[in-house]
């Protein structure tokens, strides 16, 4: 996994609640067997009309935001389907941080598997950042080690994050590799369970 440490980038404001993962990446892009190249499907129905032409009013289609590295969104971002294609598509587009008042659990979890930082801030902070991000002539800074978001006007917002998730994200650690170091514990657990619930042993 690619680590996330610090980003200085433009932030695109997307002031809608309940943006679900079907909207982040619609189903027709889920038929792939790869995890690369998914930016073409990101917010597809927002970005393109039925003829496949760009909709100029959508924020990520505006010249000022085409290179946005941060997305600021409304409540409950990433609800719905568990598709990890959602964080893959955001990252492939160049967005490595999403700021919202709240995230749906599965999406939030998927972000940490991929080096996409989900930042939870209070509503006033999100509104302030959203307002400052309008117009597109700005830089916002997100620092994971310091757990801060610095607004274009210099105001600093601190955010909370689980320490073990932070550690893995900063160092780009492989969760499977970490867990496999505990293989002896898994062996012990399995042996004990085989006695408790023998009917589940099918092998």
């Amino acid at each position: 996994m690619k680590p996330f440490t610090h980003i200085d980038a433009k932030a695109a404001p997307l002031a809608l609640s309940n943006i679900d993962t079907d909207q982040i990446i619609p189903k027709q892009f889920l038929k792939t067997v790869d995890r690369i190249g998914l930016s073409k499907g990101l917010f597809y129905d927002f970005r393109f009309d039925e003829a496949g032409q760009e909709k100029p009013d959508f924020v990520l289609n505006q010249p000022a935001y085409k290179d946005a590295g941060v997305l600021i969104a409304g409540d409950n971002f990433g609800c719905g389907s568990s598709r990890e294609h959602a964080p893959w598509a955001l990252l492939d587009f160049g967005i490595s941080c999403v700021i919202s008042t709240s995230f749906a659990d599965i999406f939030y979890n998927n972000c940490f598997q991929n080096g996409l930082l989900p930042v939870v801030l209070p509503a006033e902070a999100v509104e302030d950042l959203m307002a400052q991000a309008r117009g597109g002539n700005h830089v916002i800074s997100v620092d994971l080690a310091a757990q801060t978001v610095t607004a274009p006007d210099g105001r600093v917002y601190g955010f909370e994050i689980d320490p073990s998730r932070k550690h893995k994200m900063l160092n780009g650690l492989d969760a499977i590799g970490e867990t496999l170091q505990k293989a002896p514990d898994i062996d012990v657990y399995e042996s004990a369970r085989a006695l408790d619930t023998p009917w589940l042993e099918r092998a």
Partner: protein, 474 residues
Amino acid sequence: MAAKTLYDKIWDAHLVAEGDGETILYIDLHLIHEVTTPQAFAGLRAAGRPVRRPDRTLAVADHNVPTEGQALGAGAVADEEARLQLLTLERNVAENGIEYFPMGDLRNGIVHVVGPEQGRTQPGMTIVCGDSHTSTHGAFGALAQGIGTSEVEHVLATQTLRQAKSKNMRVTIDGTPAPGVGAKDYALAVIGAIGTAGGTGHVIEYAGEAIRALSMEGRMTLCNLTIEAGARAGLVAPDETTFDYIRGRPAAPKGAAWDMAVAHWKSFFTDEDAVFDREIVLDAAQIAPLVTWGTSPEDVMPIDGRVPDPASFATADKRASAERALDYMGLTAGQPITEAKIDRVFIGSCTNSRIEDLRSAAAVVQKAFLEGRLVAPHVNAMVVPGSGLVKAQAEDEGLDAIFKAAGFDWREPGCSMCLGMNPDRLAPGERCASTSNRNFEGRQGRGGRTHLLSPAMAAAAAIAGHLTDVRDFI
């Protein structure tokens, strides 16, 4: 010893190791399908890691399968990418010795129908699948949750999941429902009450006499929709209804093992003094047949009500979302929802495609048929059974004949029009009465308009040609 909830007990029984913040939790059953696994198997292959417990893994093909011509096999699937995905799954399960019910196999179907139907889903288990509606299996008192593809790879490699514990929420539904009201209405009522983020960070246990009275199919519908309330898992404590359902199924324990298993399963209940972080209480008698009007499952209203006015919502965000939803749905504030004329009816999905769902829809259709009424001429209505076995049972019971005589299309099993990943989907602007789980913009096809409701309500809508109150049909 401190009193524990059902969730606490399942959690504690699966602890492998505890770290700072995250716990390593053992996974008893891993269900997989074609869409969310190719990248996981590719990851294992790249790292040279084997599947730790193929025997605790079960594969089906459901999301992108067509609902006709399945006997021809994956090679006959017209969509090239979908075909490659199905063939990739076939290769991955063969290489790793994982049991697989391919398309066309009588046992194949929607993953959340197949697991319980095979007796693989059992109380007290931990179950995961790369699909958010894995919450369905909580109906058996199993901790069942949807995971992403990286976690699918983690479970394949280690048979464990790293997770922080959620909070406990209990939803109690007491009382007796009115005729025409059931599990789907309970679920929509809960989502309407707490919102689609109301359960975030929680596991929801359902309790109360109305829940006890539900069949396993009803409990599965309720737990299935728990994710639409934001909670990753729903739970119903196992009881005799649960044990009766499991008994005799292919993977159910047999003989002496059955008694041992039931004794084990009976240990999974919430202690009387256990404390929940949040409690919600509803009265089944106060719940009307419900339908969604907007593009979020929390946009719920009684079928005899009027479409809400966006101005009536508390925050600017909500008002903007409601306005956008009404515009997308082609509805006007204040209009009776029964005025909404429909083009399509979809009875199916992991929410409502089990035998009892089909029976309740067929009962409405049969009664109308005997009164000389068929599916309205302008409506295209389809029934998609959840598995080959559900389809066979429905045919044994003559349900297919009722549906077909009334003008419904009787299809082969799969996720079908719930998510529009396969040929079944809505055209732009089409309005659908759907027994599925998500009314998101574009979910059932770009520009498609979805109204979520129960199977009986969907059947009534098919006959009436517009959204209608099922109580007038029973």
